[in-house]
């Protein structure tokens, strides 16, 4: 028997509330199945199982909040003898050698991220009261200077830090709204990024004339609901380029870069309630433009209704932030740790453009790269950006 533990859906997640179960004791589950929904600061997340097996016992009733790493339910692996002693699996459970059968659609590999990245607070010496308070206020304890016994962070340090960074410090347990929780999660992740990641920034201007012409021709024959979105082109171009520039695609974990063979593009989505989330489109380099369009539409809708899956939250290997028709000409993004690159796509605009010595007007976009200088250098970053630009000149190959 194996305990399925509350997964860490991001390095800053401390706990989650079980919203509902999609399984019950006796229920047969397959790798990739959604087994339930957990409410986190990032919204409701559908959690998946990574092994085939049979659910034996639900340990946490819906409505209860549990810490990351605590058992949620118990299941029996498919190959497991019925009386094997209870083992504890890591959260999320490690996949044993893949079972023969693969179901469609192919589920993503388990996120190595959550288990591999130590939660920042774990290594910090902090009192229980300080941890409680920091959790309430959404403060990353690694950023707090301790003054307690043996340099431990105590409540007063947390409060002082909170005032320093302009956080509202309510007198008693504050009723935090979902939006406030997300704000706190973003604050923690972005603070960590700017604290740990030495960013470098590059930008280039790319003509979209060929891409928009090609897309217009493609979409002309289609009904509105089947048209390919422009963002699908940039996503695909970035994903293909990332395959050729491995130092842009992966994670910086424990002082070393870990390249990812697969390209899971995180798409930054702003939420109407405020806040931002960047769920992953798995294997974006392998998907057709139609499939990417479907993925984008589906992701945006589910992100805004707060129904993302755990693998989508944790799997992204680099992020694309596209402002679309709104916004500004260019953006300089903050890398989402532990990723090492963020590609920013500005608003398309018509600009003077020189083609074969003649001045013409083209739709152009500015593409920027925020790179982690620990993992890559500016020269490679420049070639990466250039490659994205080149790919966008041959849309038919995307």
């Amino acid at each position: 028997m194996v305990d399925y533990l509350m997964p860490s859906l991001g390095a800053d997640m401390k706990d989650g509330r079980v919203v509902e179960w999609h399984v019950h004791p006796g229920h047969t589950v397959h790798r990739g199945d959604v087994v339930g929904v957990v409410d986190t600061e990032k919204g409701a997340i559908e959690i998946e199982i990574w092994e085939d097996g049979v659910v034996r016992e639900i340990l946490v009733e819906p409505g209860r909040k549990v810490l990351v790493g605590e058992p949620l339910f118990r299941y029996q692996r498919e190959a497991e003898a019925p009386v094997e002693p209870v083992a504890r699996a890591e959260a999320p459970p490690v996949v044993p050698p893949a079972p023969a059968e693969r179901r469609e659609p192919a589920p993503p590999t388990p996120p190595p991220l959550a288990a591999a990245v130590p939660a920042p607070a774990e290594s910090v010496r902090a009192s229980p009261a300080a941890r409680q308070r920091a959790r309430e206020l959404g403060i990353d304890l690694t950023a707090v200077q301790g003054s307690g016994p043996e340099g431990a962070v105590v409540v007063e340090d947390v409060l002082r830090h909170a005032e320093g960074v302009g956080k509202r410090v309510p007198g008693k347990l504050p009723p935090t709204t979902a939006a406030e929780g997300m704000r706190a999660a973003i604050a923690a992740a972005m603070s960590r990024s700017k604290r740990e990641i030495p960013h470098y920034y590059l930008g280039t201007t790319v003509s979209l004339q060929k891409a928009t012409d090609w897309l217009a021709a493609l979409n002309r024959a289609r009904t509105p609901d089947t048209r390919v979105l422009p963002v699908a082109l940039t996503l695909k171009a970035v994903a293909l380029a990332a395959r050729e520039f491995p130092e842009m695609n992966g994670h910086w974990i424990d002082g070393a870069f870990r390249h990812s063979e697969r390209v899971h593009a995180g798409l930054a989505i702003s939420l109407r309630t405020g806040g931002l989330i960047a769920p992953a489109i798995h294997d974006a380099d392998q998907k057709t433009l139609d499939a990417l369009t479907t993925s984008v539409t589906d992701l945006v809708q589910r992100a805004r209704s707060g129904r993302l899956r755990s693998s989508e939250i944790t799997d992204a290997t680099l992020t694309v932030s596209s402002l679309g028709d709104r916004g500004v000409d260019r953006l300089y993004g903050v890398i989402y740790p532990p990723q090492v690159a963020l590609v920013g796509v500005g608003r398309p605009a018509h600009r003077p453009w020189v083609v074969e010595g003649a001045l013409v007007v083209h739709p152009v976009i500015e593409i920027t790269l925020s790179g982690d200088h620990r993992a890559s250098d500016g020269h490679r970053g420049a070639l990466f950006l250039e490659r994205i630009g080149d790919l966008l000149q041959r849309p038919e190959e995307l």
């Binding site: 229980p128 431990a152 409540v155």
Partner: protein, 343 residues
């Protein structure tokens, strides 16, 4: 020692006189009350607590006993079961071990063993604690041991008010109550109102309010702890001093409320550290207030040796103002000096 009413006249007296007045009051109010123990009559008590009571109340009610703790505690249990309200005095807690069988196997259990037919409304008073160079057979603090036993109540009056007021309430209790009087307190002088009367025996009291650290103590250590709080205040540390008053049942609510507010606790207990009442209190804080703590719970206890006779060694073995101050400083992350006790 807070006066009940400001208009009441106050009298200066010692802790010893407060205990004597409590016994006299009980003997006067209830004819079922009588006192027995070694040298309580003609000699006036080993610590002179009962001086003059024999002359006042006579041999029927102030009874000298042989040096036989098991016998006279057993007699007290029998008298209580038969309807009397005996006060049994045992000279020191060390000698009470000779009556441990009567206390633990009889007094604490008879209500249960008789299926609820017999209560044992017995009060046993005894001295406890070191500091008077009475050496290892007269100086220990074993009240924490007794606090382990269900079926009895353990009181540790530290103030004149409690020395005067706890006895009567204990006599009203249908079950056995043990009262531990710290030897060092008998000569302590203080003021008590003329109309001082019975007090509750189930609540701890905050003797000094403070926001930075809770110093939790009882009995003879209370005044050392209050002095430590005064020293800490000079450094800008406001310590809250909680007087437990009763070790069984412990007043969880008062302890936890204080610790949850200050987020730091030092338990001062004249008993030995291992398996002590301080260990129990620390455990309860962990169980119930863990998420409110800013520092590990500190304990200041007696050194784990038989109490030495030599004065400098005895003083070094007991909790002292400076060791309490140092422990409080450690909870605040200030240099407090090493903890001399073995962990």
């Amino acid at each position: 020692m807070n006066g009940a009413a400001t208009a009441t006249a106050m009298r200066t007296m010692t802790y010893r006189e407060a205990v004597r007045e409590a016994i006299r009051d009980a003997l006067t109010r209830d004819e079922r009350v009588f006192l027995m123990g070694e040298d309580v009559g003609h000699y006036g008590g080993c610590f002179a607590v009962t001086k003059g009571l024999l002359e006042e109340f006579g041999e029927e009610r102030i009874r000298d006993t042989p040096l036989s703790e098991s016998a006279f505690v057993g007699a007290g249990i029998g008298a209580a079961m038969a309807g009397m309200r005996p006060i049994v005095e045992i000279m020191t807690v060390n000698f009470s071990l000779l009556a441990l069988d009567q206390i633990v196997n009889n007094a604490a259990t008879i209500l249960h063993m008789s299926g609820g037919q017999f209560n044992v409304p017995l009060v046993i008073r005894m001295t406890t604690g070191g500091g008077k160079q009475l050496a290892a057979q007269h100086s220990h603090s074993l009240e924490g041991w007794y606090a382990h036993i269900p079926g009895i109540k353990i009181l540790t009056p530290a103030t004149l008010e409690d020395a005067r007021g706890m006895l009567w309430t204990a006599l009203q209790d249908p079950d056995p109550v043990l009262i531990f009087e710290n030897t060092l307190l008998y000569n302590m002088e203080g003021e008590l109102p003329d109309d001082a009367d019975a007090v509750d025996i189930d609540k701890a009291r905050v003797r000094r309010e403070g926001e930075h650290v809770s110093l939790i103590t009882y009995g003879g250590s209370l005044f050392k702890t209050l002095e430590a709080a005064r020293v800490l205040a000079e450094e800008g540390v406001e310590a809250e001093v909680v007087d437990l008053r009763t070790l069984r049942p412990l007043d969880n609510a008062t302890i936890l409320a204080s610790v949850s507010r200050t987020r730091r606790a030092v338990v001062v207990d004249e008993g030995w550290r291992s398996g002590s009442i301080s260990a129990e209190i620390s455990a309860r804080i962990m169980e119930n207030a863990f998420w409110n703590l800013d520092a590990p719970v500190e304990r200041v206890c007696s050194a784990e040796v038989p109490m030495p006779y030599a004065r400098h060694l005895e003083q070094a073995a007991l909790p002292q103002v400076d060791t309490i101050v140092a422990a409080a400083r450690r909870t605040l992350g200030r240099a407090g000096g090493p903890d001399v006790d073995e962990r």
